[in-house]
């Protein structure tokens, strides 16, 4: 019997054959903590009797949820983490770099074959780099900080095979919303999802990040794209590693196989209040929106802003909509700025903020009042996610967000001439 890519990663790290269902104490190559889950992880580290972090050079620390500090509590939490970083010799990116998942990728903290954990559920995004990456809670993180290792139950894998090319103004976000609607909010619980096939083989890294990021929205422990030349091209710019081959064996055992053809896929919108409620944009077109958010770890990269700008052209956003644009990192901000897109967005009436989680955090800023409707390129539309529990959040691609920002209502981006 062959092995899945996930089983191979654990086998490499554990130096023995392992298979799905086994529980192993595996070494952690990198651990990421941010300003919301970090303080508690540090507290738990101390409560466990921790004195020295096992491998400080393998810890990524930064602040992105409440930056710059938006309350005294946030300021205290930041100060607490800064002190810990100094005491333990951990490099702290502080508020300088942006959203944790984007920064972890940019700084080369995840590479093919590695095991990476983050105290944030969207850590599964680093599967785009060919890593096994999973979100954990603060106490598990305290344990990983102390011991440099963590218990893992090796997950079974659902293999998603894709074919076809996207229509104009349809892309990875539409695909992952449609896969999520198909698999369901708990359809991949405890499992990994391997994204393969023609569509993924030709997809760029930002698109792969968008898809892997949302694996958790199906309950998955990890999402992964087998590393290929596109992956290694990205990795060699951020990390000094020699490329090697890593893929599932042809006779590997998958718990489920699913196939999707994207040729006729329409732009997708997830209706409130669950991520698996994706429908064709035509079904909800005309719904009035009060706020449009383009950004987040899911869709806050230069390519996402280029997609939005292409739809926007030289138009202005509707006066009836608050359009908030937030690049996911300083690097993505600079790329977008140098391409002239920031100026275009500002001229069109958008508010451009410095890199951070923004409205997706549901506590910092950009909150919604009862009865208001938001259209967002982020990853979650739960009740209250962006403010009032009486508000509604719809999820979509950057193209759909831009089109809807122009007209003040949910708009099919293919209709914008």
């Amino acid at each position: 019997m062959g092995a899945t890519i996930i089983e191979k990663i654990f086998a490499m790290k554990c130096k023995k054959d392992v298979c799905a269902g086994e529980v192993v104490m595996a070494p952690v190559d990198n651990a990421m903590i941010h300003d919301i889950t970090g303080p508690l992880a540090i507290q738990k580290f101390y409560e466990m009797g921790g004195k020295k972090v096992h491998s400080p050079e393998r810890v990524t620390m930064l602040f992105d949820h409440q930056v710059p500090a938006d309350s005294l509590e946030a300021a205290n939490n930041h100060a607490y983490m800064r002190n810990f970083a100094k005491e333990q010799g951990i490099y702290n990116y502080d508020i300088r770099e942006g959203v944790c998942h984007q920064v972890t990728m940019e700084m080369g903290k995840a590479a093919p074959g590695e095991i990476v954990v983050g105290a944030d559920s969207h850590t599964c995004m680093y599967g785009a780099a060919g890593a096994f990456a999973t979100g954990i809670g603060s106490t598990d993180m305290g344990f990983a900080l102390k011991f440099g290792a963590l218990y893992f139950r090796i997950p079974e894998t659902i293999r998603v095979e894709t074919t076809g090319s996207f229509q104009k103004r349809v892309g990875p976000k539409d695909l992952i919303l449609s896969i999520t609607a198909d698999i369901g909010a708990d359809g991949a619980t405890y499992k990994a999802i391997e994204f393969t096939g023609e569509t993924f083989e030709t997809m760029d890294m930002p698109g792969r990040m968008t898809c892997c990021n949302m694996a958790i929205e199906m309950g998955a422990k990890a999402g992964i794209v087998p590393p290929d030349t596109i992956t290694w091209d990205y990795i060699r710019h951020v990390r000094n590693v020699v490329p090697f081959s890593l893929e599932s064996d042809s006779n590997a055992s998958f718990i489920e196989n699913r196939t999707y053809n994207v040729t006729n896929l329409s732009p997708q919108v997830a209706e409130p209040h669950n991520v698996d409620l994706g429908v064709d944009v035509t079904k909800v077109a005309g719904t009035k929106v009060d706020q449009v958010f383009i950004g987040s770890c899911t869709n806050g990269r230069y390519e996402d802003f280029a997609e939005a700008a292409e739809v926007l052209g030289n138009r202005k956003f509707s006066d009836n909509v608050r359009v908030i644009i937030i690049p996911a990192s300083r690097q993505e901000y600079l790329k977008t700025l140098r391409a002239g897109l920031i100026e275009r967005f500002v001229m069109a009436g958008a508010l451009v903020e410095a890199p951070c989680c923004g409205p997706c955090m549901g506590g910092a800023f950009g909150l919604l009042a009862p009865g208001e409707v938001s259209l967002s390129t982020s990853n979650r539309n739960f009740k209250g996610r962006q403010g009032s529990t009486g508000a509604s959040v719809y999820l979509c691609s950057p193209a759909t967000a831009a089109a809807s920002g122009i007209y003040g209502e949910i708009t099919d981006p293919r209709e914008v001439k």
Partner: protein
């Protein structure tokens, strides 16, 4: 212990809204549990009460504030048809018992419920409902009272490799 009944896909944003995530005190967090989605919970919950829910309880964010708030409110166990993975593990780590019971839907709001982990069943107002066993490696953490207590007894862990690459 009375039962608080919830439906499917209860996410951690509902259990603990994002605006309280800079707080870590269990008793302060408990005052905001289910704020905006079920306000009477924080007012009326009593120590020893239980939560009963449908599928995928605790989905979404990895915020440990969610199980900590429930524990701070006096909830001792959450019974559900299924749990989201991160919440399940967080609950065990902080000493809140997650119980998987495929007949959770038959338990009614306000009923009394007791658990027998060794026997592998719940007693709900006299009825016996079987539950899924907790995986062995997690049971050791449950028996210790949580991951902190478990880890306190360890100097180092037997990692499957001798050292990092």
């Amino acid at each position: 212990m009375r039962v608080w009944k919830f439906g499917d896909n209860i996410d951690t944003d509902a259990i603990m809204p994002g605006r309280y995530l800079s707080i870590y005190d269990p008793h302060v967090l408990a005052k905001h549990a289910f704020e905006g989605t079920r306000d009477e919970f924080a007012r009326e919950v009593k120590p020893g009460d239980a939560i009963v829910a449908g599928k995928n309880f605790g989905c979404g964010s990895s915020r440990e504030h969610a199980p900590i708030a429930l524990k701070g409110a006096g909830i001792t166990m959450v019974i559900a048809e299924s749990f989201a993975r991160i919440f399940y593990r967080n609950a065990i780590n902080v000493g809140l018992l997650p119980v998987v019971c495929d007949k959770a839907g038959s338990i009614l709001e306000g009923e009394n419920v007791m658990v027998d982990l060794i026997g592998g069943y719940l007693i709900v107002d006299g009825r016996k409902l079987s539950i899924e066993p907790i995986p062995e490696f997690l049971m050791r953490i449950v028996d210790s009272g949580g991951l902190v207590e478990y880890a306190c007894g360890l100097q180092e862990v037997p990692v499957c490799t001798a050292s990092h690459q």
